[in-house]
């Protein structure tokens, strides 16, 4: 893997791979009028793909992937200027950006965040669980809408009379999650989706704990606002 050596000295062999010169050397070569950039065309494409998101995928972007591996250092540098961090999973061949942990330094955020409703978060937990199960079996994670609706039935409020509305809301949550590229429709299969393996990285163990904390907080708040003995009965459920 001589590609993983960013800005390697071996200019000749890289030149045969790519029509454009190495990222370091291309500084005096403007690509278009008014161009004051320094990176090669392909490296810039990688950068834009990473910024536009949601990910750079070795299978879908087979031409850009090796360039990203080769120019990882340069790309990381450019992303740092925007307070972003590059995450690469070489096994699964995906890379994406994450808001850098800037500690005490208050930095502007470029990446979007999805605000979740209670139901969204439950769907998300369920998807994450399916992903873990599938991974444990060494399979790809596939879900269908019917299956999600069925499994989330337990979260329907006691005494709810409008089952249809509840289902509609689940569908809306699924749509939302689809839009954020966490679910991908599978070709030729009605209502069946693959759960993107990136969810594992987006929704980490720490995030799950944060969410649990928020649930607990909500439960406590409800209890203290006079709802009679919600907590004890809730705990008995376990």
């Amino acid at each position: 893997m001589n590609w993983s050596d960013p800005g390697g000295e071996d200019g000749a062999s890289e030149g045969t791979l790519l029509p454009l010169e190495d990222a370091e050397q291309a500084s005096d070569q403007a690509l278009y009028q008014g161009d004051s950039g320094e990176l090669s065309l392909d490296t810039r494409r990688v950068l834009v793909q990473l910024l536009a998101g949601p990910s750079l995928d070795g299978q879908r972007h087979s031409r850009l992937w090796p360039i990203m591996i080769r120019d990882e250092a340069v790309i990381c540098g450019r992303l740092s200027e925007l307070f972003l961090q590059l995450v690469i999973d070489r096994d699964q061949q995906v890379a994406f950006t994450r808001q850098a942990d800037t500690g005490d330094l208050e930095a502007p955020r470029l990446l979007r965040r999805a605000n979740l409703t209670f139901l969204d978060s439950i769907v998300l937990l369920h998807l994450r669980q399916r992903l873990t199960q599938a991974e444990a079996h060494g399979d790809r994670a596939v879900v269908s809408t019917e299956e999600i609706v069925e499994l989330l039935g337990v979260y329907e409020q006691v005494g709810n009379t409008d089952r249809a509305l509840f289902e509609k809301r689940i569908h809306a949550s699924i749509e939302k999650i689809k839009k954020h590229s966490i679910l991908h429709k599978i070709r030729a299969s009605e209502n069946r989706f693959e759960i993107s393996p990136t969810l594992k990285l987006l929704f980490s163990a720490e995030e799950i704990q944060v969410l649990t904390g928020i649930y607990k907080g909500m439960g406590a708040a409800e209890a203290s606002t006079g709802q009679e003995e919600k907590m004890p009965s809730g705990e008995n459920r376990e």
Binding site: T117, A136, I186
Partner: protein, 491 residues
């Protein structure tokens, strides 16, 4: 009552897919469809292709008056949940694939066995049993003296047979007996290919069990983990794994493989083979390839499982997974405790970080142009893209173009004029090889001709010819001239 046990077993079996499929009201239709799509030629199909083929068949059946109201997708879904089909999503595939479950495979084999019975007690089957028994008796005999005696007796028998052949008395297996024996071999080999599926199922089950046990064994490492850490390949060391490996070694052994090929070749050259059905002959011709292919697939599965299981353990991935599943369970439990108090649509003070950014710039503001909303004009046919010279030379390399005739044509034309483009040549001499002729002329042109100016009207010309299917065709090609000056080179 003696029958109790049997009855209980059969009751249980009747609830399982194999029997349910045989007893299904639509059984004959289902089995027939499954057999023709997923058994006879291909053993697995991508969803879209299976749906398409089934839809076609269902239409045909409906036209014959069968009551099959549902679309193909619905039938596939119910066969899937009944356990007649299996669905997989292989790595790298863009859609899911379907294949028969072991149950429906067995149902099909069972039924085709009954549909085409071979005489139950055949001589060849008996002789197979006798041979096998003899072999076993000999191979398990520890008595030196007896073994030597038996080998000597064998020697005497062989000598006698050679002697008989010398004297012109050779025993050739009669035609009918030979046919019976080869059918027996076919059925044995067919069983073998059927076994592969079961072995693969066993591997899958084993892989799943092992991973589940790794996940469940909390805290202390447990025996599965211990063995895996000790480098023991639990899947290959399982009973199914060992049996399969032995089989695979035999099959891929060069000597054995050559022997199998050779014997097959000789048998296929015998006259009695002509009596076999087409299907049976094809089976024999493909036997080695099929065994290698299907066995290879199982072997691959075995390897993949072993590799991923090792990775799963060595990378300590299972620890992280255990932790995540516990956290997920806790989160879900907590969510359940508050579900009656919190509305489903209530926003949380939690947001999921996404990995895409959205840039907003004033420059993105564009004036509204009402004409963009207007109905588009009728679509025009686009110009076909040009073929570059490199792909032309590739085409040339792949085809047999009659260059001699083409050169003659060019020379004939250059005898009359100073220069000729490819279009000119085609005008005078029809393209006998269709596109091949055009490609051939381009190849000649790129070697002996000169290109027109690289831009402007002299860069490209449009040539027309009539293809072998009598369809008129046109192509835009770079304009290349043959010059009289280079006549000498065109020999």
């Amino acid at each position: 009552m003696k029958a109790d046990k049997h009855i209980a077993t059969y009751r249980r079996m009747r609830n399982q897919p194999l029997w349910r499929l045989l007893a299904a009201v639509n059984g004959p239709t289902i089995i027939g469809l499954l057999q023709s799509h997923l058994y006879e030629k291909e053993r697995s199909l991508p969803a879209s292709i299976l749906f398409e083929r089934l839809t076609r068949d269902l239409e045909g059946l409906r036209a014959q008056g069968d009551d099959l109201p549902q679309p193909a997708q619905a039938y596939v879904a119910s066969w899937l949940s009944d356990g007649y089909l299996q669905r997989r999503f292989p790595p790298g595939a863009s859609e899911e694939e379907y294949e028969l479950s072991t149950a429906s495979l067995e149902a099909i084999r069972f039924l085709s066995g009954i549909a085409k019975p071979h005489s139950a007690a055949t001589e060849s089957r008996l002789s197979l049993v006798i041979q096998a028994l003899q072999g076993l008796a000999e191979d398990t005999d520890a008595d030196k003296q007896r073994r030597i005696e038996r080998l000597k007796a064998e020697q005497v028998r062989i000598d006698k047979e050679i002697d008989a052949i010398h004297k012109g008395r050779m025993r050739v297996l009669p035609r009918d007996a030979a046919l019976e024996r080869i059918r027996e071999i076919i059925s044995l080999a067919d069983d073998l290919t059927g076994d592969f599926r079961r072995v693969r199922d066993q591997f899958e089950q084993l892989n799943r069990d092992l991973r589940e046990r790794i996940m469940d064994s909390e805290g202390n490492r447990g025996e599965v983990l211990d063995s895996l850490f000790a480098g023991i390949d639990l899947i290959a060391e399982s009973e199914a794994g060992r049996t399969f490996s032995a089989f695979w070694r035999l099959l891929t052994d060069p000597e054995q493989g050559a022997m199998l090929e050779e014997s097959l070749d000789s048998v296929m050259s015998r006259e009695f083979v002509g009596e076999l059905e087409m299907r049976e002959r094809r089976f024999l011709l493909r036997l080695t390839r099929n065994l290698l292919e299907q066995g290879g697939a199982v072997h691959e599965v075995l390897q993949t499982f072993a590799r991923s299981l090792k990775h799963f353990v060595q990378s300590r991935e299972y620890l992280e997974q255990r932790r995540v599943s516990q956290l997920l369970k806790e989160a879900q439990r907590t969510a359940l405790t508050i579900k009656d108090a919190v509305k489903a649509t209530e926003p949380l003070e939690y947001s999921l970080e996404l990995t895409s950014s959205r840039l907003h710039s004033l420059s993105q503001w564009v004036l509204y142009d009402p004409s963009l909303q207007a109905e588009p004009e009728a679509m025009r046919e686009g110009e076909p893209p040009p073929i570059d010279l490199e792909s032309v030379s590739e085409l040339v390399a792949q085809s047999e173009i009659d260059f001699r005739t083409l050169k003659e044509h060019v020379r004939a034309l250059l005898a009359e004029r100073d220069q000729a483009s490819i279009g000119d040549v085609l005008e005078h001499f029809p393209a006998e090889q269709g596109l091949g002729t055009v490609v051939g002329l381009l190849a000649l042109g790129s070697r002996y001709g000169i290109r027109g100016t690289l831009s402007g009207t002299d860069a490209i010309e449009t040539v027309a010819w009539v293809g072998e299917d009598d369809q008129g065709r046109r192509a835009r090609i770079p304009k290349i001239y043959f010059l009289r000056d280079c006549l000498d080179e065109l020999v």
